[in-house]
Amino acid sequence: MGKATALSQPFLAQLNRGPLAYLALALYATVTTVLLLSNPRTSLGTDVVFILFLMTFLLLYRARVAGVYKLVIGLALLLGVIPYLGTQNAFYVELAIQAAIFVTLALGLNVVVGFAGLLDLGYVAFFAVGAYLWGILSTPQIGQISPGASPLDSSLFYLFLAIGLFVGALFGILLGFPVLRLRGDYLAIVTLGLGEVIRVLAVNLDRPINLTNGSQGIKDVARPPLPEPLRALMGGLGDAQIYQVFIYLLALLVLGLTLVVVFRLKNSRIGRAWEAMREDDVAAVAMGVPIVRMKLLAFAVGASFAGAMGVLFAAKQQFINPPTFDLLRSIGILAMVILGGMGSIPGAIFGGALVTLLDLQILPRIAAELSALKRQGVGIPDWFDPAQYQRALFGLLLIIMMIFRPAGILPDERHRDEMREVEVNPEAETQPVPNLK
């Protein structure tokens, strides 16, 4: 039996642990890196290699090797290979920035939806608050509000990353207060409404005082000044390219801080209180969980990351306008959390990266290849443009995940148990009614 099992154990499973795993990981990372860097021109092949390259992180997460080893390889890829790739081809670093931004947002929403079980459909509002905060204060727009005021110095950006955290948290609490008493589904609709209110306000607050410049948005948002060491390190490159890498590193920094906070929170007293609240709020109250404070805390923590990322996003785009912060964005972030698995931190990272890639790289690439085929005379109808149908993609993702794998692709253990328990032992409320006909 023992021997048979050992033989039937696939080769891949042996790769998962032991010295072979160290070797295989290093080999995989090196091969994908070399492939990626040898031909950094944007093309279908490079796209595929880039995705294989990103798979390294998934393998690192799944492999059973020492944590230090994972960390070293991971950091080498994140801080070495991707910035270097960015100097060769700006598109891929742009993808990495977007992925970092959305992974952070997914982690923040995961605190609210996954940890605390509060379905928030207006999450992008906090992102908008952060973006508009820096957008208004760092541009001449501020002169519209108080005449004579001049834009803030761009070096204050770092301070505003921190202020963005606090303003986000403040808005989280403000929006959390009215919805404290609501149950899951009501909460979803009300947060959706509040998210829309923020967007409508952004469109309409150009009168009576021009606060947001209405639907035209705010342009020329300030970027933080380039640090001299980075410029020296990357001498010979244009400022635009250095900025790409710089913003990427900043986004990575915010993402890293977020990760530390979320990991610490999840395994803390607060994280357990959230979990208790999510499973059964009445029982949680009975056990002495201060449910009001915990709900507000969840909203505040989730919103704060979005606020800080908003500041960074405004500086990156240098232009913000209300349609950027519409409901589809909120639902896209929700799709990331659900795809990865509610309550699961690796899940949120995976979901965030995957949906961003789908949205910005894979679908446009498929569309481009299709139109190339069409130019060669293959009969593909005009209406078939996969890049145009994000909504359908998100919608399908949500439905399929809910029906077939509600706990997500990389599920959180306790959440998976919850989903499974319900399957095995349906609540007395609704037994499936046999059709007697």
Binding site: L119, V179, R183, I189, V200, Q390, I399, T430, V433, N435
Partner: protein, 390 residues
């Protein structure tokens, strides 16, 4: 039921109770129509009177009074729109305790079905030959069929497998359905040549009906008109509400629906096929939504794939306002919300000298009402207090 076998006096009483159960809720709606119109008019005029010193260029009170009848008609139309959509939310919530997030899209699909029909009729040249009432009835029936069947299909595919799952699971699935429908219809619109902003062609409804002339000054009269399309909307909506009340309150089917809403396991013990009744509830709710979509398309003239979102959210607000799960409540909530919105949309710019655009802030009003209601009276205007909202 067994009414036919009973003595005549009993059957007469049965007819009376039927009439009472059908028209009782409509009486309630009527009271709320009059009530909200009167209260909001008085408030508006009072505010205009207080603020009359702030503007020298126009007489606020007079301007407010002149547009008042038009605003009330607008409020009625919006109110019945929200009421018909809200019924779909509230009926589904009644039987499943589940917010059918995709209901706004079912409304939109109904509107598109109507637009497709009208464009087929127009291209065959039959459109202008049709009398208006025939066209409206045919379009509404097409819209009802498409939307009703779609709602049943969605329930079967996306909600029924999740019926025993935790509450958030079907809700998220419903959000997915909603997004998918938006893009599916967008695809349909571009393939079929209707276009993103599809025209909803109709036969000529004729000129608006002149009800009266309001003398503003000695030389100028402002006519008070009633748009025929608005009138069509109101009449059709009232007829549908009567039919729904009859169905729910006076038929065996309605009794079964109410039984399932009250207690699903017990209803199934009483021999009611619960799955069938739930599917039927989706059919009725979807059909009402589809009819509202067609009527809305007829009134507005264009439809687009994303148009279901805002009316959907507002109708949900209306359902909550009236007390979710409560059928007369949905109608009353729709009416009240419609009037509030019409008044804000029409008067906010006037009263604030253009500082706030009424049309945009009307949306915010709906959300504000939703939040206030949920905080202060979660059971709604007509709902009974429940202890569920922990």
């Amino acid at each position: 039921m067994a009414v036919a076998a009973l003595p005549v006096s009993t059957s007469r009483r049965a007819i009376q109770t039927t009439l009472a159960s059908v028209f009782g809720p409509l009486g309630q709606v009527f009271v709320f129509v009059i009530g909200s119109a009167v209260v909001l008019s008085l408030v508006t005029i009072l505010v205009a009177f207080v603020l009359r010193g702030t503007r020298t260029d126009v007489d606020l009170v007079q301007s407010a009074l002149v547009i008042l009848p038009q605003v009330i008609i607008d409020g009625l139309v919006r109110g019945f729109l929200f009421a018909t959509i809200a019924l779909g939310y509230t009926m589904v919530y009644g039987v499943l305790e589940f917010i059918n997030f995709a209901h706004g899209e079912i409304f939109m699909v109904g509107a598109f079905a109507g637009a497709a029909l009208s464009s087929v009729l127009a291209s065959s040249g039959a459109l202008n030959a049709l009398p208006v009432p025939v066209f409206v009835v045919v379009a509404v029936i097409v819209g009802m069929t498409v939307s009703g069947l779609l709602a049943v299909g969605i329930e079967r595919v996306a909600y029924r497998p999740l019926r025993n799952a935790p509450r958030l699971v079907p809700l998220i699935s419903a959000i997915g359905v909603s997004l998918l429908l938006q893009d599916a219809v967008r695809l349909f619109a571009s393939v079929s040549g209707l276009g993103f902003n599809a025209r909803f062609q109709t036969p000529n409804f004729g000129p608006a009906i002149r009800l009266a002339e309001i003398p503003v000054s000695e030389t100028r009269n402002i006519p008070l008109v009633l748009d025929v399309r608005a009138l069509t909307f109101i009449i059709a909506a009232v007829l549908m509400l009567i039919a729904l009340n009859y169905l729910v309150n006076a038929t065996k089917l309605g009794t079964a629906i109410r039984a399932v809403a009250q207690d699903r396991p017990t209803a199934s013990l009483m021999g009611i096929n619960v799955n069938q009744i739930i599917a039927l509830t989706f059919l009725i709710g979807g059909a009402l939504g589809g009819a509202a979509g067609v009527l809305f398309g007829v009134r507005v003239g264009t439809v687009n794939p994303y148009m279901g979102f805002l009316p959907g959210i507002k109708a949900f607000t209306a359902a909550v306002l009236g007390g979710i799960g409560n059928i007369p409540g949905a109608m009353v909530g729709g009416i009240v919300l419609g009037f509030l919105e019409a008044f804000v949309a029409s008067y906010l710019s006037l009263l604030t000298a253009g500082a706030f655009s009424g049309a945009s802030y009307a949306d915010i009003v709906a959300f504000a009402i939703l939040i206030l209601i949920l905080i202060f009276r979660p059971s709604g205007l007509l709902g009974e207090a429940t202890s569920q909202k922990v």
